[in-house]
């Protein structure tokens, strides 16, 4: 019979090969799906996965769409490695966008280079503060951070609606629950002419490099891994679980809050109830697809962004319904999650002992 056996250490070959296997698996399953819908599967795959990479504008859009995913996933990855489960990044993202937006609206029509840094600070602090609630409830009262952070997503969503239908509503906006458009000095500068690639994109890339350094070379990276993999050994090594919980949640909250600020001051340019489109949740998947490794997350974020940008094109060019794209994205995620196993385990044919 076939038996799973843990590998002594993660297989390098498998780390490289499994994503390819997953992609092949998805191409097969997705091909069947699209063929069942009467669409040319090869054309569908080309439009979703290849065309956006060959086209200049689409490439810049991949960066714009991928940035919040990667930034949030980076923040989450340290906590996930340490066994701290912040699944409320969506809420922290919303609070970050809201705080940054509130600052932008408070200083509407006030020019000044200080405004954007102030907004970024507000976004980071708001995200961090929102994440500290589950952190404190966890360390003080032992309340599960998974559940508290999840509950706080709904609270944040309702809070955003309350704010844009109330105090932050555009006074000239005919009562639509929308803020006014941010003033120019509250908008992130573009780094690529003729595109929507804003300052947040290079900042996120720097964050990837920084996170890669911290997770490989810095004590914090080591400690978070140790706490997740061997909590007892971590205690002996002087890692305080409570402190790590607070730090990990604060870090992920700050990253999500900053991502929220980037989204509000970048492509959105205003506050609206439709601002959160699930980046905080999708980033969790991105974090795992990237195996909690900064470079892996960068790659996973790119793949995820591709399914969005390419999926829209598949709708537009081939008439593939939005629902089929969502189903396909689900399949891709399943395949990627399924093959992860082979990195840490190997399949071995064994004879049953008699």
């Amino acid at each position: 019979m076939l038996r799973l056996e843990p590998r002594p250490e993660p297989s390098r070959a498998m780390q490289a090969l499994t994503p390819l296997a997953a992609v092949l698996l998805t191409l097969l399953l997705g091909g069947l799906l699209f063929a069942a819908l009467g669409k040319d599967p090869v054309a569908a795959m080309r439009v979703i996965f290849v065309d956006p990479l060959l086209d200049g504008y689409s490439r810049t859009e991949l960066l714009v769409k991928g940035t919040p995913l990667v930034l949030i996933a980076l923040g989450l990855s340290f906590g996930f490695r340490a066994g701290v489960w912040n699944i409320g990044a969506e809420g922290q993202f919303i609070m970050g966008a809201l705080a940054a937006g509130a600052v932008a609206l408070a200083f509407h029509d006030v020019p000044g280079l200080w405004l954007l840094p102030l907004m970024a600070l507000a976004g980071i602090l708001a995200g961090l503060g929102w994440a500290l609630i589950p952190a404190i409830l966890k360390t003080r009262f032992n309340a599960s951070e998974i559940l508290v952070s999840l509950m706080l997503v709904y609270v944040a969503e309702q809070f955003l609606i309350a704010m844009v239908s109330g105090p932050l509503r555009d006074p000239q906006g005919f009562n639509f629950p929308l803020s006014r458009n941010f003033h120019d000095s509250a908008l992130l500068p573009l780094v690529l002419e003729g595109s929507r690639v804003h300052l947040g994109v290079p900042v996120t890339l720097i964050a990837v490099a920084l996170a890669a350094f911290v997770s490989r070379r810095h004590l914090f990276g080591f400690r978070s891994r140790l706490l997740g993999e061997a909590p007892r050994a971590a205690a002996f090594a002087g890692v305080e679980a409570g402190r790590m919980t607070v730090i990990c949640l604060a870090l992920s909250g700050a990253a999500a809050g900053l991502a929220g600020m980037f989204e509000a001051a970048g492509p959105a340019g205003q506050l609206a109830p439709s601002l959160p489109v699930g980046y905080g949740f999708t980033a969790i998947i991105v974090a795992f697809l990237g195996r909690l490794d900064p470079l892996g997350i960068l790659l996973a974020g790119a793949v995820m962004a591709l399914t969005y940008v390419g999926g829209e094109q598949a709708q537009y060019v081939l008439g593939i319904p939005a629902a089929a794209n969502e189903t396909f994205r689900g399949m891709l995620l399943f395949a990627l999650l399924a093959v992860n196993l082979l990195v840490h385990y190997r399949l071995r044919l064994v004879r049953r002992a008699r």
Binding site: N142, A323, E326, F334
Partner: protein
């Protein structure tokens, strides 16, 4: 305008009806979490149940067969989650989220020919109350009895509390969890079908509109106790119903602030039950969300 115009019996009936999909989905998830597994894909399983139940009911002209199909579809989707998390040891949080995406997409895809079709009418016991309402309450009783009084229930809880010990005692941890996951999926599917066959009754894309997420909140609110799940479902369903009814009365309170209340209350409850006690005392399964690996 005064509150006297609010017929308490009618209000109770709407509340019971509104809480029913939540009770079914949350009760299923409770059993799953008690076995130590966190499946965040409730929304996906509910909507698959909603469309599968609808399609089957339309095809067979029988709501009962519709519900049966909904349970089967929910369980099937749940077993996909089970395969990934229990056999292939994928992360539960990520897999659950992916399950929701997949379920929403697949349901919309399957549902395309079913927009604008009327399902066969489900039999009503009284007013808005159909047979799934009392069955939901019976389910709560049955789950309570199963977990608290029966031997298999004890084993299931043991698996959720300490899977290594349960494994050492010779219990098939993975098989038990797969069974729990399938049960949870079937319940979520039934909850979804209640929406599409009884409460609204029609099929529209995205019609669960977040009910699955509320069910997850209710399990926590209930601190993993069946009776409190019923209470939680009444509370969460009740806030919306009360809000709408008060508005219909002319007492205009419809606001985002009120919609926040149940979630804040859940956090409060969670803190209260968690504070100063060990996890075992409060009913949170100790192995919730942890990977079990017999080979390691």
């Amino acid at each position: 305008m005064d509150l006297a115009a609010l017929d308490p019996l009618l209000l109770l009936a709407s509340l019971l009806a509104a809480a029913t999909p939540l009770i079914w989905a949350a009760m299923g998830e409770l059993v799953v979490e008690r076995s130590g597994v966190l499946n965040l894909g409730v929304e996906g399983m509910m909507i698959i149940g909603a469309i599968a139940g609808f399609a089957a009911a339309v095809a067979t002209a029988s709501p009962a067969l519709g519900f049966l199909a909904a349970a089967a579809a929910g369980a099937a989707l749940a077993l996909l989650f089970g395969l990934l998390t229990q056999i292939l040891l994928a992360n539960q949080v990520a897999t659950g989220l992916a399950l929701t995406m997949f379920g929403l997409g697949l349901a919309a895809l399957i549902g395309q020919p079913y927009s604008g079709i009327k399902p066969p009418p489900a039999t009503r016991l009284a007013g808005q109350i159909d047979v799934m309402v009392p069955l939901g309450l019976a389910l709560a009783g049955a789950v309570w009895w199963f977990l608290a009084r029966s031997r298999p229930g004890l084993i299931l809880r043991a698996v959720g509390e300490n899977h290594d010990a349960a494994h050492a005692l010779g219990y098939p941890v993975v098989a038990i969890r797969l069974a729990a996951i399938a049960f949870g999926g079937a319940c979520a599917g039934l909850g979804g079908a209640h929406l599409s066959l009884v409460r609204v009754p029609q099929w529209t894309e995205g019609m669960t509109a977040g009910a699955g997420w509320i069910a997850l909140a209710i399990v926590v609110f209930a601190s993993w106790r069946p009776a409190r799940v019923v209470l939680g479902a009444w509370l969460f369903g009740g806030v919306t119903i009360l809000q709408l009814n008060l508005q219909a009365l002319g007492l205009g309170i419809g606001s985002a602030w009120m919609s926040m209340a149940p979630y804040l209350m859940t956090i409060l409850v969670l803190v209260l039950i968690s504070a100063g006690r060990s996890r075992a005392a409060l009913g949170a399964p100790a192995c919730l969300g942890r990977v079990f690996d017999a080979s390691g």
